[in-house]
Amino acid sequence: MSTVARRALHRLSSPFRQTTGFARWILLSGLVIVAFFVLVAMLAPWIAPYDFAQTRTDAGERIPKAAPPSAQHWLGTTSFGNYDVFSRVVWGCRTALQVVFTAVLLSLFLGVPLGVVSGFLGGWLDRILVLVMDALYAFPSLLLAIVFSFLLSDQLGGGVISAGVALTVIYVPQYFRVVRNTTVSAREATYVEAARAIGARNHTIMGRYLFGNVIQSVPVIGTLNAADAIGTLAALGFLGIGIQPGDAAEWGYDLQRALPDASAGIWWTGVFPGLAIVLLVTGLTLVGEGLNETMNPTLRRRRLRPFTLPPRGAVAMQAGKGQVDL
């Protein structure tokens, strides 16, 4: 393994190794949940008994409408379009993770370089970028997503890529800010001057400093963004934008179609997709929070063990006290 990769791994895993009971538990349970969903997403074609828009069984029979959970349909069937709920949930998992993965990666690849450039060059470019990014950051993310989804649906259609790109805009500012601020402080740090004074090269110093700091904060930001993205994607689907029903299964859309069922007491069409969302978002949040707890020293408390004093005689013998009789 190259030294860069090894160092990155070391930095990334150090908070994990430093975690104590509680934080480690949070981190672990979060990772387990997320891993489960990733597995489901990857193995979707083999796990789901039906396709996401399939209305007849392979034998040619029509799938019943709004049927409660049974042996043939583990989570029941929908009341719109007669789909198998279990399959929709599994395919929806794949959709969600694809979109979110795209969005987080894209925003990383946009935000980090922009941050470095902006922080390093400074001047009017920096000022404009900071203004734009701050405005984007302050804007409610759902509204932003609606706007961009609207704009992009004409160009890119209603599939995974379109939704992913629409969500990217929301998260770019966060990476930009962190990286830019780190770059600026690295540029201005006095020890950079000192290092330069002894002849170290400019970009080596900055590179190392940046690398370390960014590596520490990116995982936390990334996971929390992913958690937010799942929710935002579902919201878009709920509102009828984002992923279009013809392109893929999406949990939020299913929930919207399940609303009328609720007043009629039909529960399986809505409860299961929603549960999937809750679990995945919770898992991602737990990972993010677990990482955050370990990396944020102000919230850490030095643990003092409860303690009882040993009897004096024992100590005295060790220290040699009182051995001389006077």
Binding site: F22, F139, P140, L142, A227, L239, G274, R301
Partner: protein, 275 residues
């Protein structure tokens, strides 16, 4: 293009957000007629969130790393993890579908809407002004579930933030100094830790306005609540770009105004902040 932008800014300053394409309504009229409903929902939801979030956050902060703390924190995470419309669906399932005690859509039954005169365009107030007890009850009945739904979402955030603030306050040196003067623990908690913890919370509440807006839009869609958010959703479905742009711009303006207000409130509360 630059001139166009200036014109647009001028329009916004005079509260002219344009007109919808599909039915030629001025956006400002939409705001007038439906703003009251959104406002009612927001205020009610805020009240619910504070009622749930503040005490739980304080308890979690005080009893750090114990079982109650854990439970409360998980609760906070889960309420935020679930999309607000999922909570809406669950509430509707329970209270409308299974128990059948609460209405699942609209702000009031048709009779009430017919009877009550729109004076302030805020249905609850109008019903109160008209001294129509049945109407008031009807509106409250319809308000309960949406308010609980949105309130639950917001409470998750409050719990987390209040808890962190209480924790940081309790570590303050002035806490130790107060204990050294013999101040009782309960008093230390109340007037030192709590008070100092709540100051940043006011700012935080203001920062949640973005969340409140998104949540309100989705909640209104879920319960067919006749607020601005519901209108927005309908125009989205009609692909009416002018309407969507106008309403979202209006929301942006609201966010900015509220932020400024919060800054002012903060300056009033915290004696260290002086402009």
């Amino acid at each position: 293009m630059f001139v166009q932008y200036l014109d647009y800014l001028r329009d916004v300053a005079t509260l002219n957000f344009g007109e919808t394409i599909t039915d030629n309504r001025p956006v400002i009229e939409i705001v007038q007629n439906h703003g009251g409903a959104t406002l009612t929902l927001s205020v009610a939801a805020f009240a619910v969130a504070l009622l749930i979030g503040l005490p739980l956050g304080v308890i979690a902060g005080r009893l750090r790393d114990t079982i109650p703390d854990l439970v409360i924190r998980v609760f906070g995470i889960v309420t935020y993890a679930a999309p607000v419309f999922y909570w809406g669906l669950l509430f509707q399932l329970l209270f409308s579908g299974i128990l059948g005690v609460l209405p699942s859509s609209g702000a009031a039954s048709p009779i009430t809407i017919f009877q009550v005169e729109p004076v302030t365009h805020i249905l609850l107030l109008d019903a109160a002004i008209a001294a129509n007890g049945d109407a008031v009850l009807d509106v409250l009945e319809h308000l309960l579930m949406p308010a609980m739904t949105l309130g639950l979402l917001l409470s998750g955030i409050f719990i987390r933030l209040v808890r962190v603030n209480v924790l940081q306050s309790l570590q303050g040196d002035y806490i130790e100094a107060a204990r050294a003067r013999g101040i009782k623990e309960s008093r230390v908690l109340r007037s030192h830790a709590l008070r100092n913890a709540l100051v940043p919370v006011v700012t935080v509440i203001g920062l949640q306005i973005a969340l409140l807006l998104s949540g309100a839009i989705l909640t209104e869609a879920t319960f067919n609540w006749p607020g601005i958010g519901n209108e927005l959703v309908q125009y989205i479905n009609l692909r009416d770009y002018a309407a969507v742009q106008g309403i979202i711009t209006m929301f942006a303006v609201v966010v900015v105004v509220v932020s400024i207000l919060i800054d002012i409130v903060n300056a009033l509360i915290d004696p260290r902040v002086r402009y």
